[in-house]
Symmetry: C2
Subunit: 364 residues, 2 copies
Amino acid sequence: MATPSLLILAGDGIGPEVMAEVKKIIGWMGTKRGIHFDVSDGLVGGCSYDAHGTPLTDETMARAQGVDAVLLGAVGGPKYDALDFSVKPERGLLRLRKEMDLYSNLRPAQCFDALADFSSLKKEVVAGLDIMIVRELTSGVYFGEPRGIFTEGNERVGINTQRYTESEIARVARSAFELARKRGNKVCSMEKANVMESGILWRQVVQEIHDKEYPDVELSHMYADAGAMQLTRWPKQFDVIVTDNLFGDLLSDLAAMLTGSLGMLPSASLGAPMANGRPKALYEPVHGSAPDIAGQGKANPIACILSFAMALRYSFGLGEEATRVEKAVEKVLADGVRTADLMGPAGGTPVTTTQMGDAVLAAL
Amino acid sequence: MATPSLLILAGDGIGPEVMAEVKKIIGWMGTKRGIHFDVSDGLVGGCSYDAHGTPLTDETMARAQGVDAVLLGAVGGPKYDALDFSVKPERGLLRLRKEMDLYSNLRPAQCFDALADFSSLKKEVVAGLDIMIVRELTSGVYFGEPRGIFTEGNERVGINTQRYTESEIARVARSAFELARKRGNKVCSMEKANVMESGILWRQVVQEIHDKEYPDVELSHMYADAGAMQLTRWPKQFDVIVTDNLFGDLLSDLAAMLTGSLGMLPSASLGAPMANGRPKALYEPVHGSAPDIAGQGKANPIACILSFAMALRYSFGLGEEATRVEKAVEKVLADGVRTADLMGPAGGTPVTTTQMGDAVLAAL
Ligand SMILES: CC(C)[C@H](C(=O)O)[C@@H](O)C(=O)O
Ligand SMILES: CC(C)[C@H](C(=O)O)[C@@H](O)C(=O)O
């Protein structure tokens, strides 16, 4: 097989800083483990708008379609707040998700032992927490038509459309069931079937796929509002959660915050297999571009490093190498190495973004 | 003025049990404080379906329109899960909200001192918490058209429509600003303006109403996913939160769970002033019908009692009487009186639903 290719889109804010640390890990994989990647860079988000007047050029889009995996940092910032909706930084990210058809967004919410004290939740509620949120990423209210701001009579009306087809629901459900089989074998599906017809269809299709193809997996259904409650009350009751694009946006951020490890959490967005058998894939940290701390060496690169670990596992079948990176991160945390966001009451050794990257390298 | 009228719709599950305790308080108001109500009862939800084949009859709807305030218990239960969408218990509640045009849903999330230990969050994060979520209740994806499950090609498609007009946003924003002026003078508005045009309009209109009519109130905007995070991380940063119907559904349940006092939290749903100057109004506990514990004397009547206190304050201008009821509840809690849901590690005196109602009466 040819050297696997990676497109790096560092993006805005702290994106470039955290990505610089990932590049060190990629380099280490080549020199120390003989695992080489063909790495290229590109622009997405505000920086692409600044250079080209669009948050993602057709050329970069085409390159993303052609590589084995995309690594993304973060997009957005107050500088771009006044831009028209169609050229906002977020549109670059949404275009990548949509055109690469990355329908299955995996967001692990994991509480790192060394950081259990750091959550706003009680230690016993979050210690050892390990849930996986599977969020549908290419449909729903994010992309449904009609949409826009219209004039009706003498006032404005804002419209968006929540829309799910049976096959869109079926494929993300399968992805959740597959993952569950490799974990705790439990899936909880969340919607508002008591209020929304799209939620009724969601529930039906998830149940049908379960009954026909995954009867061995334990399946439950929950209304999304109750889901938000239960995630807050006792998150360890969950293993895999599958939900739609919008509910997934809120619930995965909530779950991430529970762990107290927001700067720590990676994500994978996966699509259908390509000709070489690898899924279309984009990996990015769950955190945003954090413009308030950009350029100050304060950002925590771990979420981005762990996103690369997810790439090793899900795109390149290198689960052992992924675990190696994850263990190195755990060691660094256990040693008390802390970027600013991880400085809790218990203290630790304060480090910069670069020093954190170096610490992970040393632990490797 | 004529004796104020109350329509009591106790509903399903634990609804009738908790409402029985409220009736004791209403009785006490008459005999001890000379404040009389003209009380009548009606059916809503599953019990109405059982009796009449519909979750709300036109006759009950008309009575709700005619009274000064409606008190509702809870609706729904597994018995009704297989019913067609159009006759599900929830449709009764949604019809009341829509036809009475109760656009402003006030959901206080308050942490009771005596229960601060009871939250899954750390005590310092929730002790003293007192936020007010103002949720738009008559529009958005709950009511937007088109909606339904359709066939397209050879598959099913589920569709709902998120739709907000300028005036719908303006009136609930005003309601939030008015409340803020009586509290901490701060409003945070939540939407997904980075992804949804309806969110862009929401943000614009809230800002316009602020600038024109409430420049003295501090206003901020937050994406709803960040809102879920911030509510979990440090909820005390908020005073009043204003948001749409669907986000409000999730965020208010989340906020309620933070306090550890789910069985404690009331809500008020308010509309435009009637001819007598009182707003159209419905009061209900935030908790659901809890079919698993119904009929066992385990339900906590406090949320429903506090909903009646909100009625005293918002419908009848009896703020002092409302405070009297609230103080009685606080005293009972401080005395360690506990229904099953409030039995934490710290223990307390276990009581039934009826005993809790009696304890509040005694404290009054
Ligand atoms: C940046 C934004 C468009 C995005 C989303 O809403 O999906 C983000 O919140 C996320 O969760 O990845
Ligand atoms: C019962 C249901 C229809 C309702 C809603 O979704 O609004 C409930 O969750 C609530 O928050 O009052």
